[in-house]
Structures are given as structure tokens and as C-alpha cells.
Symmetry: D3
Subunit: 220 residues, 6 copies
Amino acid sequence: MSVLVIAPHPDDEAIGCGGAICLHSDRGDRVVVVFLTSGELGLKKVSRERAWAIREQEARAAARVLGLADTIFLRLPDWSVGEHLKKGAALLSPILKREHPGLIYLPHASEWHPDHQAAWPLVKRALSSVRPERFPTLRSYEVWTPLAAWDQVQDISTVMPRKLRALRAHRSQLDGFDYVAAVKGLNQFRGALAGRCRYAEAFGEAEPHRPSRHSSRTKP
Amino acid sequence: MSVLVIAPHPDDEAIGCGGAICLHSDRGDRVVVVFLTSGELGLKKVSRERAWAIREQEARAAARVLGLADTIFLRLPDWSVGEHLKKGAALLSPILKREHPGLIYLPHASEWHPDHQAAWPLVKRALSSVRPERFPTLRSYEVWTPLAAWDQVQDISTVMPRKLRALRAHRSQLDGFDYVAAVKGLNQFRGALAGRCRYAEAFGEAEPHRPSRHSSRTKP
Amino acid sequence: MSVLVIAPHPDDEAIGCGGAICLHSDRGDRVVVVFLTSGELGLKKVSRERAWAIREQEARAAARVLGLADTIFLRLPDWSVGEHLKKGAALLSPILKREHPGLIYLPHASEWHPDHQAAWPLVKRALSSVRPERFPTLRSYEVWTPLAAWDQVQDISTVMPRKLRALRAHRSQLDGFDYVAAVKGLNQFRGALAGRCRYAEAFGEAEPHRPSRHSSRTKP
Amino acid sequence: MSVLVIAPHPDDEAIGCGGAICLHSDRGDRVVVVFLTSGELGLKKVSRERAWAIREQEARAAARVLGLADTIFLRLPDWSVGEHLKKGAALLSPILKREHPGLIYLPHASEWHPDHQAAWPLVKRALSSVRPERFPTLRSYEVWTPLAAWDQVQDISTVMPRKLRALRAHRSQLDGFDYVAAVKGLNQFRGALAGRCRYAEAFGEAEPHRPSRHSSRTKP
Amino acid sequence: MSVLVIAPHPDDEAIGCGGAICLHSDRGDRVVVVFLTSGELGLKKVSRERAWAIREQEARAAARVLGLADTIFLRLPDWSVGEHLKKGAALLSPILKREHPGLIYLPHASEWHPDHQAAWPLVKRALSSVRPERFPTLRSYEVWTPLAAWDQVQDISTVMPRKLRALRAHRSQLDGFDYVAAVKGLNQFRGALAGRCRYAEAFGEAEPHRPSRHSSRTKP
Amino acid sequence: MSVLVIAPHPDDEAIGCGGAICLHSDRGDRVVVVFLTSGELGLKKVSRERAWAIREQEARAAARVLGLADTIFLRLPDWSVGEHLKKGAALLSPILKREHPGLIYLPHASEWHPDHQAAWPLVKRALSSVRPERFPTLRSYEVWTPLAAWDQVQDISTVMPRKLRALRAHRSQLDGFDYVAAVKGLNQFRGALAGRCRYAEAFGEAEPHRPSRHSSRTKP
């Protein structure tokens, strides 16, 4: 299976679905992460280009830990994804055509950060221009805003150490607050609630309303 | 597979998921419909008991067309399901224990009728007291309020004649307006949008937020 | 009476309110359709200019069937209306001044397509700059997302054949799925529910909250 | 025309639509107010029966000022209307049959008080059992929670003194805070915004989604 | 200061605001917990009375750890608080009069469990009948549904061991899943996000809309 | 204390929180108003530059009445703030750094005007880039859309004459409708409801969900 992960900034992929990515890649699925921005506003006092270089290098280091097949950087302006949906969708469309993913991970719609909120409109637009034969399954992940309503949990206990290593690869981001502790805390909460697993990731749906022609056909 | 259909009144089961029921029963699934009320307010100028007798008889006639394994009548008061959640859940719980359904159909949460809106709180309560080992999949159907956001469509072209026959079995309800035409219209709309099918039923999710312990475990 | 129809793309006018338009023009009302985009993304493998030519020609053919007094093409970029509200409102304002419509039809706010969602913000902005003496009545129509809550239905049985002919005039759009069947299905559903009419269109309100100075004065 | 006003407690009718009532009765419309409760919790240290007597007497005094044709007291328990929808609807139904109102005023759905929130479910239920040939127009009024989105304003400048006199007739309620000042303030705000009128009442819609069979038919 | 905690079931007080309670009681605040139900459905195969005895004893053991001044058991039926608002408010009102709390903790409105959702309507009703001179501050806590939007966090690192001891005092509830791990995980997530604290509790507002007469007066 | 007021157009500051500003400046707080636009669309038939000159002069006259320490004009395009969030935030950020306000006033999120709706996204973005050590308190004010849910009221009786004088300083805006009457009406409504004060302003919260690192720490 081909899996696509939409990450507004480097580190969102590890925080939100790093465990699921490990499990996918261990199963032999091809997992590609598309970074909408390269997070230049997450670094102070360096040029945009320098910030890109640093964060993309970190993202590639994290990618090796997660077992990604590829990382793609769209370099939309940080904090302004919502104002560049057209450009973003134009950049994403050929990737959708090439990868034709069966499953797409993206941030959920109630995330606090406007770039996270912009992910689904951007993906929706790209999907509409591509019109894939088979509409991919959409799974939304949580970064810093917990999902109030979730749909599925994924036991990630066995790959938690790798997830945390991937997280730590984004080292320029680690000094604001202890976000390894934050991620461990939330994943432990999800795991304990789900029952009998130490760490879990929770997922919701991106948007239940599918475009015409693309509603999934159920078997009875 | 065991399938449970929650119908607030006789005829909701045929309108909302009559096609899906036919396909289930043709596949050999055991399908049971639980009627929350027996729709006594849908008949004028007869006693409640007489109304129950008429509508339950019609429901059983429809059941034969749909291929149901069983029909169960809880006889909650029509238009007052929301005020009898405790009693309704107490009546539903042993049925859940006996049938342990893998899939439950029920009206969606935005339906106009308050009895339809009350279906999910009632089912949620019953499920919580039963605590099934495996939490059933929930699929919500549309009666007279179209789903603005839907999740899945089911091609029911092959069984549409049977669905309509089941609908017509609820004959005491047919004189208000041409509801065979209404149902055919909506199912044709769903089918055409889905592409390449004449008639379809659309389904949403009952509520994405699962109780602790019951979130479905995904495979990566 | 002067009636204005806001259509994000050619064919939305026919799908959403083609029947109402026929009835208006038959009564002698002046009906003008403003197409926000000329739907260039609805045609694959042709230049934007070529796509415009094709779809505008189809729109004019449909206009003749519907009895329109005029068609106006704003040529905002397809799928990007929301990013061009200022330009769109600037183009719409002189039309509002010239036509001073008593009634405006536009897509409802919960439509799936972002261009449909952008119609009301665009119209609201243009109305605010024009400040008409008499604020027009707003009526929102449904395209592919059914209105969950509707306000009025219009019996269009007598003009249904013309509506369908107008629909078929948009011939470049007809091969994706059977959208004549879709439209017939939904209009039949609306008609049957309304009672005693074969086909109907349903309408909601664009936004109940009127700007200061423009709330409609009721008679007691 | 026959007009029905649903007031959860004595004084809501005067606060929310006292001006409109005056204008209706001056035009010769028959206006009847149905009080869901007689507001026994609004009086401290008297028996329920004594409180009923006092407040109903005040309501009848206000009625004479407003020009009501009749006042009807359902005496549902104060603060518990939502738990007595069945009984309330059963009491309201014969009134609907007798009065067959063309217009019904009731509190809007976002009012803070749970009895106000319960008014629409109660009316909806009664209307559904009665199934009037012609579905009445519904107009929702504001008591202490201003309508964030309003639909219509009614100039009540000429009858404002009478509205205030009716308000003051509910004298047992006047000592909590200066609610004549509150009502004058809000009506002045509505009037000034509407332009060129000193006092106005604002109204919204009770619920745009009409039951099947009852959607109002528009003329094109 | 007098602090009141509304807990739908024994253990909600410890999970949702056990840390804050410890800090309050350490400061000398008088903290009283009102248990709406005694959680009889949380114990299988024992009589209601036996379940009450067990869970109330556990609640009193937890109370000693938390330093509560008092525990009060209203014994409303478990899972049915929403159907007993009148009775519950009547039981709560004298407690409000006696304690006149300056601060009330209660579950937030989006909690999954219907008894948690019913807490605010019950408190609102009791407050309205009591009409306290000074309206208390309301703080809503999270049990198993994380707050998607939170307002304040409370560093509870120093009292976390006591909170966990109080949690473990509800021993009849501990075997379903590892809820000590769940609580530790969520509090660690809140603490890490807040920055520089190991464990924290997050709080939202119960309902921003205050009744007339009770809006808090701000200082400029 | 340093107080910042975000006003989309000149006059919003006086309408929404002119009374609170007077009280702040009387207490010795430093109050600065940032005007997002200079309201060029509020003047007909003059050039944009001329309109800016007129309205900024009026704003400065109002500022003298209110006792402001400074007025800052960002001159974003009127009616287009939402399309210039990036530029607006870049202009606001150095102001936040310089003033480090403890309290920010801004329009509430449900205001009808799109520029008012855009205020919070703009402020949120600027705050995120600045990352203040202490996150300011946010208080949202009402202009022409009343707050349906409010959080606090401020008695402004003593400074009402000054508020109205500040309002009248925006003289180019006064001829549309009697907005002094509108403001007096709404403030009288708020004051009467709050009890024992003639005029009051009501405030809500901008958005309860704080960014990570910035949740306010409560004392127990």
C-alpha cells in the first residue's frame, strides 16, 4: 500500500502519526511525507533559507528513523498555508498522481494552528483536480490540540522508542518546552483508555462528506 | 454477521436502509429490527392498542419482504422516546447481549423527528451497560432529512424493487404524501452522484467519539 | 421584478434553481445570471481560454432555454473564488447597481465546493459597498449537497422538461456521472415531500443576520 | 388573521413581542397568548397556588393593555417545561385546532432559560399531531438573550408606551432589576440599527427546517 | 474561600480536579464535593444499595487523601442525571445556600458521558433558584474527553502523588483499564505543554453566558 | 498596566469599549489603539488618501476624549483584513513587543463584518510570532452584533458622556443612522441586566484555547 502523510511543518509527522508510520513501513508499505512548509518561523535569527536547510535536514534524519520512502518539501510560507491553497494544491496534485495513496494522514480540522487547519482544504482541492479512480481513506491526527471525538486508536507500544527518536531528530524545536514528555503523555493517555496498550495514537476523520463520485462503496 | 437495525417507527427501517437490509439478508447475515415505538400517533381515530396491532402487522409484512430474522417491538410511546431513554436502554440491553451485533444501523443525529434524534442516546446508553467485547460498527441512515455529510453509499439497484415492496407494506402510512416517490427520488440522487448505479442509500457515522475501552483498533 | 442568480460555475444555475428561473421568466421577471467563474477546471486538456469559450457558449445555450435576460461572466479563477473576494465584489457591485434586484439566488453556505461557500461572502461584500435602498431577498439553492434545513419549496413540475434541457446544454459536463438523473432524483424527493407535486426545488436562507440598516421591515 | 403567542412565563409575551402584539390587535387580528407556566418560581415565600393567582392576574392586566383576545394558562411546572413536552403538547394541540393561527410567536432557540429553549420542541410536537392544512409562519422573539442573527425588525415606536404599560403590569417581577430600562434599551438599539425608528423588536426564525408536507410554497 | 466540586460519580472529582483540590485544601480553603450519583452502575452483580455503600466508602477514603471538608451524596440514579434535573437542583440548592461557594468545579459540557453533560444544567438551575449575591466562578474539568479548548492550567506537580493516591482509593473502578496511567498521561501532556511543570490539570469555562443579574463585574 | 485595543475601523474602539478605555486611562493605565484599517470605504466619493486623512483625524479627536496614550494606523485595505493577515501580523508584532500589553480588547468572533472576524486570526498570528513571556488577557467586545454569550460586564455609567463624545468625534460616520442612540440603547440594556447600573459594556472571550506555553497559570 502507498501511504501519504501531510505535515504542515517538520515534526508534525512524528508527533501526530510517527508510530503509525513506523508500523506501516515495517509492514512494507511505501510511506511518503509531504511537508507543506519547512517551518522557517520556528527558528529565530536565521535567514529563511538557513532555517529551511536546518529543518529539512532534521526532517530527513527523522525520516530515516521512521523508515520513510521519501520526503517532499513544498516550502509554502510558514503560518500562511491558508493563503496559498492554489499553489499548494498545484504542487500536491502531481504527487497524488504519482503515489496514488490508498491512505492519507493529515492534521484534524480543529487544530489550533492555522496551517494545520489549512491542510484539509489544500488536500481536498488537490484531490478534486486529480480525481483518483479510488478515493483514498483519510485519517486525521492530533498534534497539540487533542481530538475531542476520535474514531480509531492505533497501538504503537512496540515502536514508541523509534517514534521518540524521530521526534528528537527535530532538535531545533526541542528547547521551547518538553515536547517529548507532552507526546509521551498524550500517547499514554490514548493507550490506557484504549485498554491494554502502553502507547497509542488516536485518529479521526478528515471530513465525512465525500465529493460526488468519490463516496466509498461499502459492502453490505 | 449479526446486524441490528434501530427503527424509531415502523417504516423507518425500510426508508432508511431497506436496500442494505436486503443485501445483508441475501448474504446470509442475520438481521433483526428493533422498533422503538409502534407508531401509534401515525394512525388517527383508533385506540393505541389497535394502532399498535395494525402497524406491527405491517412491519412484519415488510420484514418478510426484507428477509429479516426477527422483529422486536419495544412499544415506547410515540414522539416520546427521548423521555424514556432509561426504559428503552433497559429493553435494548438484553437484545444487544443476545444478538451481539457487529453492525448497527440507526437514524442520523440531525433528523428532524425527536424520536430519531433520541435513537443514538438510547443505543449509547444500552451499549455502555452491556460493554460488548467488540464494539459494533455504527452506520446512520437518512429518513426525511438528507444527510448533509455522508460517509458511505451502498448500491441498492438490484434490490430496489424489494425495498419498495417493503415500503408499501406499511400501507397505513402511504396516504399522507407519495413517499414511494420521495424515497425513489433520494435513492436515485444518491446513486447518480455515486456514479454508475441507479439507486443507492447513503450512510453517515452515528458519533465518531467512542467510549473509552471501545475505540476500534486499527491495523496500520 | 429583477432577479439575480449567482452561479459559481456554469451549470450551477440550472441545477440549483433552473426551475425557479423558468417560472420567473415566464412571469415576465427580468432574470440575469452572474457566473463567478467560467469553470475552466471542468475541462481537461484544453487551455483556459478554450475552456472558457466552450463553457460560456454552453451557458448561453442554457440561458436561451431558461429565458434569461442576460448572462455575465466574471471569470474569476475556478476553485479560487474565496481568494478573490475583493475583485469579485468590485465586479459585482456595478451589476447590483444597474439591476437593483429584489431577489438574489445563490448557493447555500454548506455546499461542499469552496467556490460555492465563497458566494455569500462575495455577495455580502458587494451589497455592503452598494448599500441598496431596498435590501434584496436572498434565497439559497442546493447543488450537490442537499440542504439539511430548508425554508421553502417551489413546485417546478410544469417547467421540469425545460430545466432538464438547460441542464443538458452544459454538455461538456455530462460525462462524469449521470447528473440529469441526480437532479431529477433530488427534485422528485423535494416534490414528493412537499406533497402533491412531481418536482420541486428547495431553498434556504443565505444568512438570516442582515447588516444594520437593511433588516427587512415586517408588517405586523 | 389569528395570531398565537407562546410565552414560557407571564411577562415574556410583553418583553419579547409586546409591541408587535399591539400592532396586531390594532389591525384587528385576533391575538391569543398561551402561557406555558404561570411562573411560580418567580415569587418567593408564597405557595404555588398563590403565586399562580398573582401572576395570572398580572398577565390578564397586561393582556387588557395589549388588546389580547384571550389568555390561556397551561400551568406546566416552572423551570421544567422541557420535562413535560408530552403534556404541554397535548394541552396545546386543541388550542391550535381551535385557533388555527397563521402566525406563531415564540422565544428563540438560544435563549438562556431552559423553559424558553423548550418552547419550540413543545410547539413542534403539537403542530405535528395537529397537522394543520396551512403551516403557520413562525417568528422567534428575544427576551434576555439578544438574537445574534435576526431576520426581521418591527417598528414599534407608536405603541411603545403601551408595551411598557403592559410590562409594568407584571409588577411582582419588577424589583429584581430595572427591566423596563433593559427592554427600552434593547428596543432602542434595534430601532436605531434598523434606521429611522425609535423602538423596534427583532425577530428570527424558529427553525427553518419544516416538516415534510409543510414547507411553505413560494411563488416564483 | 469556599470551593464546591460537582462530581457526577465517585472518582470524577479525583480524575478531573484532584490536584486542584489538594492545593485548595492546603491553602486552607474549605472544599466540599457533591456526588450527583453514587455510581451504582459501575459495579456489576451487587444490589444498588450495596454498590452505593462500596462506592461512597471509597469516596470518603479519597476525600481524606484530598483533604475535603465534606462529601455529600445526592444518590441520583446513575446514567439518568439528565432526567432528574429538578430533583437534583432541589437537593443542591440548600447546599449552595449553606456553602455559598466562590468557585465551583464541574465537568465540561462536551464530555462523552450524559451524566457529565447534565452537570451544568443541574447547577445552572440550582444557582437560578438560589440567586447568590455573588455569582461563583465556574471552572470545568476534563475526565475522559480531553478539552479541545482550554482556558487555564494548574500546576499540580507537587501534589500529584496525593492525587494518585486519591484515585486509587476508588479501587472498585480500577480493573477496567489502567486509569492511573491514563490520568498521569493526560496530566503530563497538560504540564509539558504549559511549560516547566511535570503535571497539570486543564480547565475551561462551564458556560460563558451568565444569567442576568449575575454577570461578573470586572474592574477596568 | 498596558492595554491594547484592536479596532478594525475608526469608531469600533469607541462603540465597543469606549467606556472601558475611559476607566483604564483614568486609572493611569497606558491605552493604545491599533486601527487595522482607516475605513476608506466608509466615505463615498473621496480618494482613499483623503478618506484616510479624514477618518484618522476623527480617530485622533476621539482619542483625546478617551485619554489614549497613542493611536496607530496600520492602513490595511478596508473590507480586506482577512486577506492581509500576514502583513497585518507583521505590522502588529513590533507593537506587541514594544507595548507588551497585559490586556487586549478586540471584536468578538461572531461579528457580522468580515474585518471584525479577521481581528482574532491576525492577533493570534502576531502573538505567536512574538511569544510574549506573559500571555495577555483577551477581552472581546460587541459592535453591531450583540454577544449572545457574554462573560463580563463593565459598569461605564460614570464615563458614558465621554464615551458618547468620543463616538461623536467620528462625525463622518454619523449620518447613516442614529448610532449614538444604538450604542446608548445596547449599553443601557447591558447595564439594566447587570443590575444597579445605568450603562454597561459586555465582553466575551476572544478564544478560550490558548497556544501551548501560553495557558494562563491559575492560582488554586
